[in-house]
């Protein structure tokens, strides 16, 4: 499932999100690699998305336990690497954060809902033209409602919309001069997000698409009001 545009999580940044109601921390080390872990410190249950990234480790804000992966390649993301209150002791081997599969494609970050499930669209990016980021919008509405709202109001310059299940439910809006791709994130917590990219690099087109995405979001939010 898509959780962000690639630029939404810069090197050294972390953010919390939700994949099918499961809290997830998405972060990027200085090596540029995106990781997605369960958003819970194994020590005291603090949200790791409130922590901070240094080099290629994520540190919990509560007691400073650091997590990363071991360079010797014994596998295993999310291993505890350091406990500041016991600098001389070996970090507890059992204290590791469950890692979810994460990958980047189509200018977006995709996270699997469980080990072995990449949920990156299998053909994402293959045979497609380069894409440029537009923006992400989040709205308090179920994912199908956001999908329907986007399809009902296609972006300027496009004529047809196709949804491919093989592409993770990606909506492709096609026009003579522009293609717009929107990926829907079902956060599962009553909110949904749309992550939008386009084949056009020019600023006016992308700004117009930004306004379009915000307009669809605002209209849907107005409908969803109790």
């Amino acid at each position: 499932m898509p959780v962000s545009l690639s630029g939404g999580v810069e090197p050294g940044a972390r953010t919390g999100t939700s994949v099918s109601a499961q809290p997830v921390v998405v972060w990027r080390g200085q090596d540029g690699v995106v990781r997605a872990w369960a958003d819970r410190c194994p020590h005291r249950g603090m949200r790791l998305s409130l922590g901070f990234v240094r080099d290629n480790t994520l540190t919990c804000i509560y007691h400073g336990w650091s997590f990363g992966w071991l360079a010797d390649g014994d596998g295993g993301d999310g291993k505890c690497l350091a406990v500041p209150s016991h600098p001389g002791a070996a970090p507890p081997a059992k204290a590791s954060v469950p890692a979810l599969p994460a990958a980047e494609a189509l200018g977006m970050i995709w996270v699997g809902t469980g080990p072995g499930d990449t949920t990156v669209p299998p053909d994402a990016g293959r045979g497609r033209e380069a894409v440029h980021p537009v923006r992400s919008v989040t709205v308090q509405a179920p994912a199908p409602a956001l999908r329907a709202a986007l399809e009902a109001a296609p972006p300027p310059g496009t004529e047809t919309a196709e949804t491919t299940e093989a592409d993770g439910g990606l909506i492709a809006f096609n026009g003579p001069a522009v293609r717009v791709l929107a990926a829907i994130q079902d956060r599962g917590d009553g909110a949904a997000a749309a992550h939008v990219v386009t084949t056009r690099a020019d600023t006016p087109t992308r700004k117009a698409l930004c306004l379009w995405a915000a307009l669809v979001r605002d209209r849907l939010a107005a409908v969803m009001l109790p």
Binding site: V9, T15, L50, I61
Partner: protein, 194 residues
């Protein structure tokens, strides 16, 4: 120079930020400003004594410091930036009210006010999103100004009134930019480590 404020006063935070960013030496006297301001009496926000000149309120202090010590930090084009600045420093500003009620009253902030504050964060995210396409990393364009500092507190402190920044990627990028300014100082609720 003497600043009368306290660490929990988010109104005074942009002033403390600017003083630190400009590396201006300033004595601080702790004053009980936030809860008093909430009840609608007492001094409104920070008071600055700059060599005998007394300036009252965050907006006036920011303008005074920038005008006297760092004109670069004043937005060059007034207009929209000015009105943003005015709304930010207004006592009725939703994120400010929501934070005060959430932190200093038993009842907490009413949902309507929190919604209004969330919309403000969303508007900010929209604005930064569009600005970034033109290479405008700050509210007034290519350089940070006192408007960025005034907006930073209520945005970075959103957890105080129960709203997350996670759904607003451009807002998060701008927060990281402010935090990266040399001389940046945190406040309670804005952790040093980020």
């Amino acid at each position: 120079m003497i600043l009368y404020d306290n660490d929990l006063d988010a109104d005074a935070y942009p002033v403390r930020l600017l003083l630190s960013l400009l590396n201006l030496g300033c004595e601080r006297v702790i004053a009980d400003s936030s809860p008093l301001a909430l009840r609608g009496h007492g001094p409104r926000g920070p008071v600055l004594d700059d060599g005998g000149v007394r300036v009252v309120g965050a907006a006036a202090v920011l303008r005074h410091l920038a005008a006297c010590h760092a004109p670069d930090w004043l937005p060059r084009s007034p207009g929209p930036v000015d009105s943003l600045f005015t709304s930010l420093t207004s006592p009725r500003f939703a994120p400010r009210q929501a934070r005060l009620l959430a932190l200093f009253t038993a009842e907490g902030a009413p949902p309507g006010l929190v919604e209004e504050a969330t919309r403000w964060l969303q508007d900010l995210d929209d604005q930064v999103t569009l600005g970034e396409f033109d290479g405008h990393l700050w509210f007034a364009g290519k350089r940070p100004t006192i408007v960025d500092l005034a907006a930073f507190g209520p945005a970075a402190l959103s957890a105080d009134y129960g709203v997350e920044q996670d759904p607003f990627p451009a807002l998060r990028r701008w927060i990281r930019r402010v935090r990266a300014l040399p001389g940046f100082v945190p406040m309670p609720g804005v952790p040093q480590f980020y």
